[in-house]
């Protein structure tokens, strides 16, 4: 941070030189009976340096901390009248680009002005009662808290971290023939599959013998309509028990025909799992 402030220090142009007498004998202000001949340089940031000033600090608290640290400046000794004037001049400049930041600095200026104005009032017994609410104490608390985290941020940055200090190891694997385990099948599964096929064959046979009371084409359309609405229809949901054996057969053949024409697909996510039917095409043919 010190480094980034170099430009500020090199340009020692007081913003409002005209307002201050150059003669050594006249003083700018009288502080506690003593004449103040020179303004602390750090407080006066030339407009040219404003941008650097804004970038160098993380906000009004950060600036104040810097001033305190560098100048050994007593928060209570800030010449409020001047700093307020300065701040307002900056705010005018800030309007051009970063007004939201200006607002934050303004709040700080206002706080400082409040502190000073309170100090100017004769302290009565009332002040003792108000001690807990002393804005100076609050300001110092905030400064302390902020500095803690400011330091913690520096410490965090110093922690060894991935990508900068440590790097992950990517050891390759030798070109081994990776043996993929083959699926296991039980005879029972095989027989159940056969049972399914046989049932289908039987139904098919019946269909060939029995006159179809319902048009298969019509049923195909109905099935397609049904599955288009839900995307994935349970296989069993396509059948209606009320229609009896024949209805079931017709629906089944309709489904087979749809499958054959690759208009639908039947999927099963796991062995013995529910069969689901989904539409493959949304053509208007049927």
């Amino acid at each position: 941070m010190e480094q980034s402030l170099v430009p500020l220090e090199s340009q020692e142009i007081p913003l409002e030189t005209a307002a201050f007498p150059e003669e050594g004998e006249t003083y700018i202000a009288r502080i506690r009976g003593e004449p103040l001949l020179q303004l602390p340089e750090d407080l006066y940031i030339p407009p040219d340096a404003l941008e650097i000033f804004l970038e160098a600090f993380e906000g009004p608290l950060d600036l104040l901390l810097y001033l305190i640290r560098r100048q050994n400046l007593d928060i209570l000794e800030i010449p409020i009248a001047d700093i307020t004037r300065q701040y307002i001049a900056y705010v005018e400049l800030m309007k051009a680009f970063r007004l939201e930041l200006a607002a934050e600095y303004l709040v700080m200026a206002a706080t400082l002005a409040e502190i000073k104005s309170r100090m100017l009032l004769p302290r009565s017994t009332m002040a003792v009662e108000e001690e807990e609410n002393d804005p100076r104490a609050e300001l110092i608390r905030r400064l302390q808290e902020y500095e803690q985290f400011k330091e913690a941020a520096v410490q965090l940055d110093e922690l060894p971290r991935l990508e900068r200090d440590n790097h992950l190891v990517h050891a390759a694997l030798p070109n081994m023939k990776q043996v993929k385990p083959l699926p296991e099948v039980e005879l029972k599964e095989l027989l159940l599959a056969l049972k399914d096929v046989m049932q289908r064959v039987e139904l098919n046979t019946k269909h060939q013998i029995v006159m179809e009371p319902l048009s298969i084409r019509q049923r195909m359309t109905e099935v397609l309509d049904k599955i288009r609405q839900v995307e994935f229809a349970e296989f069993s949901s396509l059948f209606s028990a009320q229609e009896g054996k024949l209805g079931v057969v017709v629906t089944f053949i309709a489904v087979l025909e749809l499958l054959k024409q690759t208009l639908i697909d039947i999927v099963q996510t796991e062995a013995y799992g529910t069969l689901h039917v989904k539409a493959l095409s949304t053509s208007e043919e049927l």
């Binding site: 992950l168 990517h170 385990p181 699926p183 005879l187 599964e189 599959a193 096929v197 499958l259 062995a271």
Partner: protein, 210 residues
């Protein structure tokens, strides 16, 4: 640069890289002042390829450069970490297999006729790969389609001595009974396992095979 340090730097670079690195890329890692000669790099890499690092890592030259890899002795454990669970066969696969078993010798067209859907080529391919089916001839039809049948390996897998041991189609028709019979067989097996104290030898045998 100290040869031992150079070695360590090269290993660390190869370990951090996710792809093989060639000599040029490796040399660019060094500042110009400390950059080793290519010949020096070659020597060090040759040495690294010859001896494993910490018994675990080996530096290997592949087509696109050098890479660090785990020695095969340990790779077997790692493969386990990433390996997929064995997949399950689809209903279509099982139906195709069972039709070949019961209707053999059978053509693809005949399977398709029974199942009502086209036989997926990859299913037939997998069945051949597992050596569960084989071609026993060709049907005298246009295109001379292959006649498919099951193999001894298929019988072995399902603990069958011969095709005769497959349940008859009638038995299968009575599904509940077939399942019952199978469950009885499974129970017997379970009892056998429970009494495994007596047959320690048998259990050991099973473990060895697994």
């Amino acid at each position: 640069m100290d040869a031992a340090l150079l070695k360590k730097i090269i290993i660390s670079i190869l370990l951090s890289a996710s792809e093989p690195l060639n000599l040029e890329r490796l040399s660019l890692v060094f500042e110009e002042e400390t950059r080793p000669e290519l010949s020096e790099l070659k020597t060090v890499l040759a040495e690294l390829c010859a001896e494993p690092v910490a018994d675990i890592i080996e530096i290997k030259e592949v087509a696109s450069g050098f890479r660090a890899q785990i020695k095969a002795d340990y790779a077997q454990y790692i493969i386990k970490l990433w390996e997929e669970k064995p997949a399950r066969y689809t209903r279509a696969f099982l139906e195709t297999l069972v039709l070949i078993a019961y209707r053999q010798p059978v053509t693809r067209a005949e399977i398709e006729e029974i199942r009502g859907v086209a036989v997926n080529g990859s299913i037939i391919k997998t069945l051949f790969e597992r050596e569960w089916i084989r071609v026993v001839g060709h049907k005298e039809l246009p295109g001379r389609p292959e006649l498919l049948a099951t193999t001894k390996k298929f019988l072995d897998y399902f603990n069958l001595k011969s095709l005769d041991e497959l349940p008859t189609l009638n038995e299968i028709h009575n599904l509940d009974k077939a399942v019952e019979n199978l469950e009885q067989v499974l129970e017997i097996e379970a009892i056998a396992v429970a009494h495994s104290d007596a047959s320690e030898l048998a259990v050991q045998d099973c473990m060895e095979t697994s």
